[in-house]
Each structure stands twice: as structure tokens, then as C-alpha cells.
Symmetry: C2
Subunit: 435 residues, 2 copies
Amino acid sequence: MKRTIPAAIAALIASTALAQAPAPAPDPAASDPVALGWMQGSPPAPDKTVRWADGSFFKFPQTRWSFAHWNQLIPSSDIWRGEGRVSVLPRAERNEMGGIKFQPANGGPTMTWEQALAANYTDAVVVLHRGRIVYEKYHGAMSPQTRHIAMSVTKSFVGTLGEVLVAEGKLDPTAKVAQYIPELKDSGYGEVTVRQVMDMTTGVKFSENYGDQNAEIWTYSRAGGLLPRPAGYTGPQSFYDFARTVQKDPAAVAGAFRYQTVNTDVLGWLIRRVTNKTVGELLSERFWTRMGMERDAMIAVDASGNEFAGGGLILTTRDMARFGEMMRKDGRFNGQAIIPKAVVDTIRKGGDKEVFARAGYATLPGWSYRDMWWVSNDDHGAYAARGVHGQALYIDPKAQVVIARFASAPQAANAVTDPVMLPAYRAVADYLIRR
Amino acid sequence: MKRTIPAAIAALIASTALAQAPAPAPDPAASDPVALGWMQGSPPAPDKTVRWADGSFFKFPQTRWSFAHWNQLIPSSDIWRGEGRVSVLPRAERNEMGGIKFQPANGGPTMTWEQALAANYTDAVVVLHRGRIVYEKYHGAMSPQTRHIAMSVTKSFVGTLGEVLVAEGKLDPTAKVAQYIPELKDSGYGEVTVRQVMDMTTGVKFSENYGDQNAEIWTYSRAGGLLPRPAGYTGPQSFYDFARTVQKDPAAVAGAFRYQTVNTDVLGWLIRRVTNKTVGELLSERFWTRMGMERDAMIAVDASGNEFAGGGLILTTRDMARFGEMMRKDGRFNGQAIIPKAVVDTIRKGGDKEVFARAGYATLPGWSYRDMWWVSNDDHGAYAARGVHGQALYIDPKAQVVIARFASAPQAANAVTDPVMLPAYRAVADYLIRR
């Protein structure tokens, strides 16, 4: 079976790359998937069909349709919401918010919130203020019921699970990974601690440089079944198999932060090993069945049926907002404690700023990284889950604001859109804090 | 990527084959997927892993796990249940029913209902009597929440949709297929009517003989992406593309019933063409959102994103029972008319018995076929949806009984298990009719 897939697919498994010179971007309005007719018709015409096998599902502008239909392209496991009632998100809409003005950080002209959303290929956005929906929009292929691929926002869900297990004494952050997973003893993870995995300071050799055909990202993708395997392939059969082949990077600076997706798969493995449940089962038990989520979520699985902890979560915009609101409320939601406050405190406190600064994220000055969350360390204490192509769950504790946003920007790196979207999020918070 | 798949996969797309001499069957209890440890462990051991790519997902006994986890193996589209309340199925359990005795039709010794279920690899069963759950069991990988692949039971859902569109005047059964789908004008469907498609009397050339490597079933499977495509494959890209290549069978007897899965895909295409909605959207709009279904269903999609109308429905046992109960109640369920009574009447009336008899289904004497349903024409007016490996939705109007059953029998053909299961269903009905 021919399965040629463009290099772009590899971006699926990564998140924020370093800043790069933005290429001229296509017109967002002109890429509306409904206007373009992707997968419309009975059946869609061949040139309007989006497929996994030919790689079209990861080409822009097809991504404006495919990100909202991920389970139709990739096998996935379901995250059951249980039988409870949906938790009500009260509505107090402020549609004037579309006109909130702000100054982008890239020297561009003043923009409005509405302009920022449109210019950056927003598929859906829900803004909560003190737990009420104040702004909610769906575009293109999205509706309130539609589930969108969260990309690396997934990591923050998994990192939160990991920190919960630490709080419960089931996972010792000071223990070596190999203590739980002897299979990794001889890999680059042999001497790595659980905490280092959770904070991405593992020092393993894993390049996400898509320009380098020898980068580990390619083997990783083939192992997980995201990329085609050549005939007679005998390499690793899953993300976990791949993790066993990961080497220590002799050039790595001890304690340095390096964003490497494979670390999240190892965290997923740790979580499974200490609970003997799958990540999807735990997301269901701990969050979906207890938070009154609106719809079952899904999580993409690799060629061996293991969940893609690094980037496979598929969920509705409102349910992503509910998770953010739970974090904002110190772990409480739907009338109960979902996770310990101490877990939220640990995440909000962030990681080592010096270590983070050395990683060179030009659009994230003063930020740090903790438990698979990005922490701004600003005067509002804002922190975020972030995924390629514009996925974001932004929490501003001081302003009591949560922003859940799905997008399908043509460029993977959030560094491209950060100069507009981060000031936009802050402007929304600044507007609401006065209300 | 190596994608060698055993011939057995082709059974996925077929349904009841002709009777064949049963091979010695493995011990059902010994094939329990939990006892065997399929996909257990964190992660599962390689020899306990069930994969799509290596074909293990369609080998017995792995099927006892995979049939209950189809969406983790094959991409699928979701059939939304909407936001309404779950419709209550009152409980009036009669666990003594396990001891109901009956005489198998194969000359074997008297069996009990419980023995018949166990001996025939039953994964789940729900029996309704006058709309109340009187018997409900889950085995192996199944739970009330688990969704199981329905195989060709799917066809009866699609056939019902088709008959509903006929009743609404949207689909003319006397019209030629090509009138709606000009793309099929030059195929074997060129002179075929909609009614002939719905009743599988199309006279097209399509062999489901898995023993013949030149049988159309193989091209069909490659077209839909169920089977690997050789390098440089330039054949049909979807089930619909394949349908365009189907030829008229010069040897076909006019009006003869021949069970050919491709006919259901053509019906799915007709339904999409006249509604401009996908089959999944219609199943959601017409049934799932209105019947108080317990969970979203799913339907497997082919390599071009088209639903597999011939066998891709994935749903819970109770929701399958709800559909049966709606049929039993002349189209009414959950306090409203779901489909017109005339549609149910048309189906119950069945097709031409003479035509059916000539097809040689030894285990179904006196039966006929209508709108993708199998009609017994017995004194109870029983009729059924049937899928390979034991899937069944059996409706006995006189006894006011509905039996929804999922199974993972090692042999595809229901002819192998019919001599036990059909008398068993009838015995259950006979028992309940006196209550």
C-alpha cells in the first residue's frame, strides 16, 4: 500500500519549535474548509477528498477539515464521559469582546481580538470568566459538538495525571525511570528520574529537526505507525519500543530543558506501569466521568494500540475549557475535588526560568516548563497547554479567565503566531479583569 | 509498511456464507480474551498485542478482543447520540431463562439457552420482552458500555434508512440506480433498480468466495483500504470507485437473490446522493438523537472516508436492542414515531420465498430477504439482522421479544451456528410468550 506522507506529518508529534522566519501565510478566510468544499458531496469528489494514506490529511488547507475529524483518519481509543449529567457552564456572553484592541509583540499594527482569531486560523474558541462562557465561536468544520485534535495540549493532560500520581504517592519523582520500567534500563533513560521526564530535562538524544533526515523523529514516527514503514521493516513496533532505543545525548547539558515528545510517551508508560491502566482509562476515570464532560473524548493509538500520549487527545472545545477551569479553581470542578490543590500549585509555580531561557524560545521570555505545562511567570501567573498549529489552553488565575482555542494554522510552530496570540490572550484577560 | 492480512479479513465485508462442514471448533471458554490476556499489561507483551497491520485483529481468538475494540483498529466516524436523556429500558430480569431447554436442529442433544450462548462464543446478549430487559449478559471484553462491531447487521440499519426514504418519496424504488448515480450508468448497475439493490437481486458479478483469488471480494477489499495495496496500485480508491467497475453477470438469473455486500455500499451511495448527508449523519439524525441511545455509535470508514455501509457499524448491545424494539413497536420508540409503520410492514412482509430458496441457504428454509433484513416467514413473523461470526438482532413480533447478540465465533458463516442459535432464539420466545 502506498503511504507516502509529507514531512509535515512529523509536526504532529512535536510542539512549539524555535522561532522561524514566517513564510507568507495563505489568506485565512480563503482556507475555510466549508467554502473549499473538503469532504463535501455524496461522495466528495477525488480532489475534495482528504485521506490519511496519501498524506493529504496533514497538508494545509486540508488540515482545516482534518483537525476536526481526526478519528475518521487515525484509529483511536475512547475516553468515556460516564453516565452523569453534563456540568453546566453558565452563559454571560459579551460579544463586544470581539472589539478588544491590543498591540501585537511583532511591531505590527493594533489589532482586535476578533481580527487576531481570524488571522490565525482559529477553528473554535471558548473564553470563560469566573466559570461563565463570555465568548464562544466556531468556524469552518467546527461546532460545539465537534472534537478537534489537541496536538501537544495532550501533554499537559498527561503531565497533570503524572503529578496527581506523585501526590498520591504512586509515582516517586525522585526515582529513576528504570525502577518502574526495567525495559528502559539500558536506554538513555537509564539514569533519568521521573521528575526529569515530567519537566523534559532528560538529556536524551532526540531531534525534532524535520530538516534532518537522520533525526530521531523519523524513526519515532515509523515506530508508532504514523509514517509508512519500508518493506521488511524490523525496527521498533511502537512508541514504547522506540523509547528503548533512545540514547543518552553526550552533548546534552545536565538539567537542560529540551522539548522532546518522546518524554511524554515515557511518562505515559510510567503512568500505565504504576496504575496498570491505560492513559485513556485514567483520563476517563479521573476527569471525564467526574467533570460532567459534554462528550466522550478520544485518543489516537499507535500501531500497537498504545495511546499517543504526546499528542493524540481529541476533544470538544468546551470540554477543554472545563479542564482549564478545573485547574483555575485549584483542582475543584462540578462540585467536587477533581485533583489536589497541591498539584495545581506545583504546576503554577513553574520550572527553572534560567534553564528554560537557555532553550532559546524567543517568543516566551521569562517562561518556564513544569509537568508538561508552559508557565509564563507573569504578573497574572498565566500558564498554558500548547500544541502545534495553534492549539492552546490558556489559564489566567488573576483575571479568573480560561481560554480554550483550537486552530489549524499553516505553520506548525506556535512561535509564528505567539507574537499576536499571546498579547491577544492577555488583552482579553485585562479586559475581563475590570468586569 | 508490511500489511499482510489473512484471507479471514475478507469475511469482514461479507455475511452469511453458504453452509459448510464445520471444522472442530476451539473451546469457547478457553478463548476468553481476558483469560488469554489480549491487550493487557502496561503495555501488553508483543505476543499479547492485537494489531491491524499484521492481520492479528482478524484472527481467532484475537477477534474475541478486537470485535469489542474496533475503533482502536480502524478509523471511524461517530454517530452522535445528541444531548437528550437516555431512554429507560425497564428491568424485569428472569435469570432462570439460562435454563430454557431446546432441541438444536442439527440432531445434537438438548441444550439450554445458557449453554447455547457459551458454546457459540457469545460476547454479549440483551433480551427484551415487551420492552423490558429480561436477560442481559456480558462476557470477555464486553461491558454494557462497550461497543462491538456489528458486521452485516449494519446492512439492516442501512436498509431501513433506505425504506424510510422510499416512504418519504425521496427515493423511488422503481427508478434505475443510474438515475440517481450517473457514475454507475456504464457499470453492472446501469439497468438495475433501487428495489433490486435493496433486496439484493441486482444480477451483478461479485463473488464473495474467499477461496478464489480472482473473486471480486479481493479487489473490493483493496479498493476500500481493508486490504493492503501493492506498490504502484492504481485501482479503485474507495468502495464507490469499486462499484463503478462492477459488471453485469451474464450467468445471473433475472431476479435471483444473491447476497453481495457491494449492493449495500451502493444503497449507502444512493442514500447519500438523495439526502446529501452521510450515512452516519442520517443514523444520528434519524435514530441516535431521537431514540435516547445510551452511547454514540461509530461507523468504520474506508480509505477515502466513506462509511462502510456493508458492515462498519459499532454500537452497544443495549442500543442495538433499542433499534430492535423500535422495529417491534411498528416504528415507535421513546414516546415518538421514529419511522413510519409502513416501513416496518414492508420489511416484515419479506421478499420472494421462491427466489430466496434458490440461493440455497440450507439453515434458513422458508426464509426470504427484504430491505437488507432476513425474514423467517414463520408463525411468529420473526425477522433478523445478521452479521458474520454470530452478530444478530432477532425480532419476534408475536412473542414481543427482541434479542440483541454479539459474538466472536471462529467461523464467519452463520450457517455454522444457525442450527443451534435459531432454535435457541425461538425457545426463548416460546418461553416468554407464556409469561
